[in-house]
């Protein structure tokens, strides 16, 4: 590649002792701008076109959300909180609430949402009169006109796939890691089954213990599981462990 600017400049200073060329350049733009519009966008009246993947405030598709809490854990500014709301059938469910005042618009919640319920939205005019108004509840997070482009997919390629000569396979990050039971530690408390947002864990009886009580062990449905790690975090005896597929 060639040096392009340094070959032309610096020129002899005596040759450029005038301000003629800059003046002509400016005059050219001036004459152009008499007929054309300047590039300024008159912001409140005109708005720039923004693409679908623009990262404004987070949006939520209420019916798609399973309340797994991945967004809460992925949020770097800790602005998301799970609160209890009534869904359309009047049932109490956990859904995220976003404090937009703290939101850094990083898009992590949309990226780490296993069911693509969280989206990014192109809404960026978020000023409110009080801090309380900046709390966006699950219903308020809904964005009219959510399109497919607003979902952020988190697709990865496994290093093992690349090593095996299959580099074009892309897997969703949430189809890979599955919790694994360490049988010795489990006490059969059913907590994992309770916290699982997609009911992928079923407690199965596996024989009877010394006192004659049934031994309950979780069995994980790998198809249903969204690798949200709720069971791992909430296990009182650390009997569940995420097995990372690499």
């Amino acid at each position: 590649m060639a040096i392009r600017y340094l070959d032309k400049y610096p020129k002899n200073l005596a040759k450029s002792l005038w301000v003629m060329k800059p003046t002509i350049v400016v005059l050219k733009l001036f004459i152009k701008n008499i007929f054309h519009r300047p590039v300024t966008v008159l912001y409140p009246y005109e708005k720039e076109w923004i693409p679908d993947n623009y990262r404004g405030r987070p949006g939520l598709r209420f019916d798609k959300c399973v309340g797994c809490g991945m967004c809460v854990r992925a949020c770097p500014t800790a602005c998301i909180k799970l609160i209890e709301v009534e869904d359309d059938n009047g049932k109490a469910v956990m859904r995220p609430q976003v404090n937009v005042g703290r939101c850094a618009m990083c898009g992590y919640c949309a990226e780490y949402c296993p069911v693509d319920a969280m989206t990014v939205t192109p809404e960026y005019e978020l000023a409110e009169y009080s801090r309380y108004d900046l709390l966006y509840g699950p219903r308020r997070l809904h964005y009219e006109g959510t399109t497919e482009g607003m979902e952020v997919k988190c697709e990865v390629t496994l290093p093992s796939d690349i090593a095996n000569g299959n580099p074009e396979r892309r897997v969703s990050l949430f189809d890979l890691d599955r919790p694994e039971l360490i049988d010795k530690k489990c006490i059969g408390c059913k907590k994992c089954a309770k916290v699982c947002p997609v009911n992928a864990i079923e407690m199965v009886e596996k024989g009877v213990n010394d006192k004659g009580r049934p031994i309950l062990r979780p069995v994980i449905d790998n198809v249903k599981c969204i690798s949200c790690r709720n069971c791992v975090i909430d296990c009182p005896k650390d009997a569940l462990e995420i097995k990372e597929v690499l």
């Binding site: 005059l27 733009l29 300047p38």
Partner: protein
């Protein structure tokens, strides 16, 4: 007693007045005189209606008093026209600069003209802040003097042979003398503000002045030499008779233009208020309306610089082949605006020079150029070309 119309002798010739203050016909005084005839006649009639047969009414309408009070109206008129033309200059710069920089410029009403009014109102509403450690008297007085001198010199520029304030034989010199006064006040003001930036800014204003003033005066003298007079009327009509002086004095015109930019303290010679290093230079401690007035004074000086250029090199209010024309004032102002457009262009196209560079420029470039220009003019005159 009498009818109202008896008191108002509208349409009388002011020059027939024994106390007529000018040597020749003066349009703004004429307008002022007629206005006063209406106004004063009404007042006199009213007073006479209440106190019939008093002497105040007749005194009001006597030659001396009506001249005096017509002069007040005349002054207001002169100031108003000068002020509005300054606002137009301000608007022109903001709009043109905006377009040159690929933005829109002012947008408020009348293609942005009302932005000047809005800014004036805004600065007027601001609190009058006087910093605690300034030298209060000097601080207040110097800014008033800077503005006062600028207004004075703005009003003294004649717009045509019939629109003038003074018509002395040394009119040009008087204008230049008042024009050159402001840097002294700026220097004092920079000291009075008790601020290091202001102090440096004030020093720089003085430094700037000694660099451009001498070549500028030489150029003015050259023009006066060509026209054979310091009288502005004579200079303008001498150009109308022969040729605009920009043709024989093209070098001088360019030099004068540059000096005029420096005189008005505009980019690239705004070293006294260089915002990159001196925040706002000598204006740092002025806030609110004081700052607004200082800014206005800046544009007034810019407008005067352009007017001087028009008078000296562009034939003033005359047009080639036409002469005075029906409205010479408008011609004059339009010419000034065109010159000011080039000032805006220079402002958009250049940066700020350094203090030592402007001194070098003034004494090593402008000074020889102006002397060279003088020599050319002398050669032309001895050769009988002009």
């Amino acid at each position: 007693m009498g009818e109202l119309l008896d008191w108002i002798n509208f349409g009388s010739d002011p020059m027939a007045n024994a106390y007529y203050p000018f040597d020749s016909y003066n349009l703004p005084f004429d307008i002022g005189y007629q206005l006063w005839e209406i106004l004063g006649g009404t007042i006199a009639w009213l007073i006479d209606l209440i106190f019939p047969g008093n002497s105040v009414s007749t005194w009001l309408m006597c030659d001396a008093v009506s001249t005096l009070l017509a002069l007040v109206v005349f002054m207001l008129l002169i100031f108003l026209v000068a002020f509005v033309s300054t606002l137009i200059v301000l608007w022109e710069e903001r709009k043109c600069l905006g377009r040159m920089m690929d933005r829109r410029g002012t947008m408020v009403g009348m293609k942005g003209f009302l932005q000047c009014v809005a800014d004036g109102l805004k600065t007027f509403q601001k609190e009058n802040v006087v910093p605690a450690k300034v030298d209060k008297m000097t601080y207040m007085w110097t800014v008033s003097l800077v503005i006062g001198v600028s207004v004075l010199v703005l009003c003294m520029v004649p717009l045509s042979s019939r629109w003038f304030v003074v018509d002395y034989d040394t009119g040009l010199l008087i204008i230049m003398a008042f024009f050159a006064l402001a840097p002294f006040f700026i220097l004092v003001s920079g000291w009075a503000q008790n601020n290091k930036y202001s102090l440096i800014g004030g020093m720089r204003a003085a430094e700037l002045m000694i660099s451009y003033e001498v070549p500028m005066l030489i150029l003015i003298c050259t023009t006066a030499l060509m026209a054979g007079s310091f009288n502005i009327n004579d200079i303008v009509y001498a150009q109308a008779d022969s040729v605009w002086y920009i043709v024989p004095q093209i070098l001088g015109a360019i030099t004068f233009f540059t000096c005029a930019v420096a005189e008005a303290e505009r980019v690239p010679f705004d070293i006294a208020e260089a915002e990159a290093e001196l925040v706002e230079g000598w204006q740092t401690e002025y806030a609110g309306m004081k700052w607004g007035l200082v800014m206005l004074a800046d544009y007034m000086r810019g407008s005067v610089s352009c007017s001087m250029f028009v008078i000296l090199y562009l034939g003033g209010w005359t047009l080639p082949f036409i002469g005075d024309g029906p409205i010479p004032e408008i011609v004059f102002l339009l010419k000034a605006y065109v010159v000011f457009f080039f000032m805006s262009l220079i402002r958009a196209a250049t940066g700020r020079v350094r203090t030592d560079q402007i001194l070098n420029l003034g004494w090593k470039v402008f000074m020889p150029l102006s002397v060279f220009n003088l020599v050319i003019v002398l050669l032309l005159m001895t050769g009988g070309v002009i």
